[in-house]
Symmetry: C2
Subunit: 403 residues, 2 copies
DNA sequence: TTTAGTTAGTTCCCTAGCCAAACAAATGTC
DNA sequence: GACATTTGTTTGGCTAGGGAACTAACTAAA
């Protein structure tokens, strides 16, 4: 795909080809099964060109012809689908108490989803690399056994990852300035596929953008609901990382100078008043990271039981969250803000208040068309997004080499 | 230029040509005077290709050869510069008490800058169209007299402009749902050039991005300092308007639930605690819009005199502004936030506090490399940006027809 | 069972436009 | 004056998209 960011690059024919291959690939992904004629009619490409592009994609085993034809008047069409079998993209998520690995095929279908407990909170980045490498090797060998070529691997990290892929700060993991991608690639001994690192919120946003129910929204924001609150921002169809890669740090937007003290030392941060910690501070002040999930389950149980104080607490958190999301909606005017992480199980008691608060504060008419939704991808969104990151580079025309 | 937003479009050779023409044009703009050989060496395009592209651009009178050559070893180079003379881009800004029109040539050099007083605050959109059309006609005829072809006209409006160019709400002007662009084009009777409308903050951001001292920053935010506070957001080298075009409405980010009441009815909005109105509420509570400039001059005078209460007031506003900018910097991680409008004359007393507050709140290491700067383009930034908007479409390869 | 009609996909040719290499032009240097 | 150096043009080759004609494979109707 021909892009023109910071200092436009000149284009040549290979760019045209790459762009058009990507166009066809994406069209088939969205509209499979479909015929060459469909592609030509919908994309505006010439029939001959489509035939040539499709042949190329079939050669590279990205597409496959199905025997099926449509029975209407005229010559029946040879239908095309994405070929799921020959490739895999791997996503890994490191977190405070576990490492998750997922692998997906080109269609985004999950091939495996493994979770290992891992004391991320008390391990060094080096130890994490060892653990990730071990897990990655097993995933890769499984993929190889299934005769799949691995297209790439991306690691999702809860922390600030700069544009060059260095993990600058990961507060919950206690890491600083770790070249996770480089070290992991080294540990995998020249794996033959790219190894990347990115922020978990960014990748979860990517997952929503590619697989979620709002995948046709070109502008969306994904909000993580963990102890930290972060956002991944997709504008005009692409992840926007900002100048150094640190965009989306909405957790420390100050909502109330008289609010509770945040772990960052200041007062009334979004994270302090609407993060998961703000709930647990009331219900289980001493919970360790590994007990988070259990504690949230307990909160859900009590909310279901209709316990007044819990409901009031959640309403309060919802309202604060809504105020934060109003800031996001006012600043970026996305089509949808998607709440993820622990906000998902708590959504039934949060969203109504949050929505009310948000819509009351968004200046644009009709709230700027911005909806507040709950993620349906579950806790694995970041890992899935990490895999989606790999697929994205295929989609933008960097196809695997021809057989 | 080949773009691939919302549903990628297929590319063909004309796109390659357009992309490369734009590459050459932009290179010459940045590096004039320069030779064909320079262009080839720096862009990576082939010498032959550059010659052909340059010939095309000279044909369209976008470039011009200067007789000047560099005297080094070897054949002297024919130097190329942008041809300023044959074209003009027009920008118009409507505001509460005046209409400004500027015209610039391809280099961005100001050809004229006219200001008419106009009671925007009490006029209908229809009346504004009449006034703008009258002004525009005079500008066009002046340009025609100078033998310049007008490439386009853009109107900057302080209000919410949707993606289709309709002015949805302009609070200070009292307009709603006005098709300014359509009506103005009609009033100009098929002018033969495109007429567009956009938000003033967006266009000022564009002006900074093209002409300002931070023009090489691919990620920047421009903040208007009027009674209303709005932002224009440039990410990855392009203006980001959000889903419906309403991005940048930072004026109503709530900073303090216990703060003063904002004109939007809520409390503690950025605009209410750090807008120009927050200053004038203390110094000249009954000032009319047309007296704003005078009142600000008075504030500046008193600050220069070292009046304690004024300095304290400005410090306070600066701190609130810094808190708002921290939210922006945390969310978007731009390379620079540029303060415009009335913040410019007040900057000496605002910026230090604002910076301190901002850096204290930005989570990213080193503040994410985000600087807080003051606009150097003056009050005309929006009008200039409106003209820049026209030049942008030339830059992206939509060249004026060949002679 | 033809025959006509319709749609799908391929083939052939043309053209745009990039690149590489050779070459011509214009200068400085020894 | 020979040679080196750099600029810009010319020529030819290649990639890849578009258009039109053609073949293929089916349905429908006579």
């Amino acid at each position: 795909m021909i892009t023109s960011h910071n200092g436009p690059q000149p284009a040549d024919f290979t760019d045209v080809r790459a762009t058009n291959l990507a166009v066809v690939l994406r069209f088939v992904r969205e509209n499979a099964p479909c015929s060459r004629a469909d592609i030509a009619a919908s994309t505006g490409l010439n029939k001959a060109t489509v035939s040539s592009l499709v042949a190329d994609l079939i050669d590279r085993r990205l597409l496959r012809e199905t025997g099926l034809t449509e029975h209407r008047v005229g010559r029946p069409a040879t239908m095309l689908v994405l070929d799921g079998s020959p490739y895999a993209a791997i996503g890994i998520e490191v977190n405070v108490d576990y490492i998750t690995a997922v692998a997906v095929d080109l269609k985004g279908e999950e091939l495996l989803n493994w979770r290992r407990s891992f004391p991320g909170g008390t391990s060094s980045a080096g130890q994490a690399v060892v653990a990730m490498a071990a897990l990655a090797r097993r995933v890769v060998s499984r993929m190889t056994k299934e005769a799949r070529q691995v297209l790439g691997l991306t690691v999702a990290v809860p922390g600030l990852v700069d544009v060059s892929g260095i993990v600058r700060v990961a507060p919950n993991l206690g890491w600083r300035d770790a070249d996770l991608a480089g070290d992991l690639a080294k540990a995998l001994r020249d794996p033959g596929f790219p190894v990347l690192v990115d922020n978990d919120a960014n990748l979860a946003a990517l997952a929503e953008h590619r697989f979620g129910p709002h995948r046709n929204a070109a502008n969306l924001v994904y909000v993580t609901g963990e102890v930290g609150v972060g956002a991944g921002i997709v504008l005009d169809g692409r992840l926007r990382r900002g100048g150094q890669g640190y965009s989306g740090e909405i957790g420390h937007i100050e909502l109330d100078p008289a609010g509770p003290t945040c772990r960052c030392g200041r007062r009334g941060c979004l994270e302090a008043v609407a993060g998961i910690g703000a709930i647990l501070a009331h219900t289980a002040p001493d919970a360790s990271p590994s007990e988070l999930e259990l504690e949230i389950d307990e909160v859900v149980r009590r909310a279901r039981n209709g316990e007044r104080d819990i409901l009031a607490l959640l309403e309060d958190v919802g309202r604060h969250l809504g105020r934060g999301m109003a800031a996001v909606a006012n600043m970026l005017n996305p089509e949808v803000v998607i709440l993820g992480g622990y906000y998902v199980p708590l959504a039934p008691w949060l969203v109504a208040c949050a929505e009310e608060e948000m819509y009351g504060r968004v200046l644009a008419p009709g709230g700027g068309g911005c909806r507040l939704e709950v993620s349906t991808l579950g806790y694995g969104a970041a890992a899935l997004g990490a895999a989606a990151r790999v697929l994205d580079s295929v989609d933008s025309g960097r196809l695997p080499a021809q057989r």
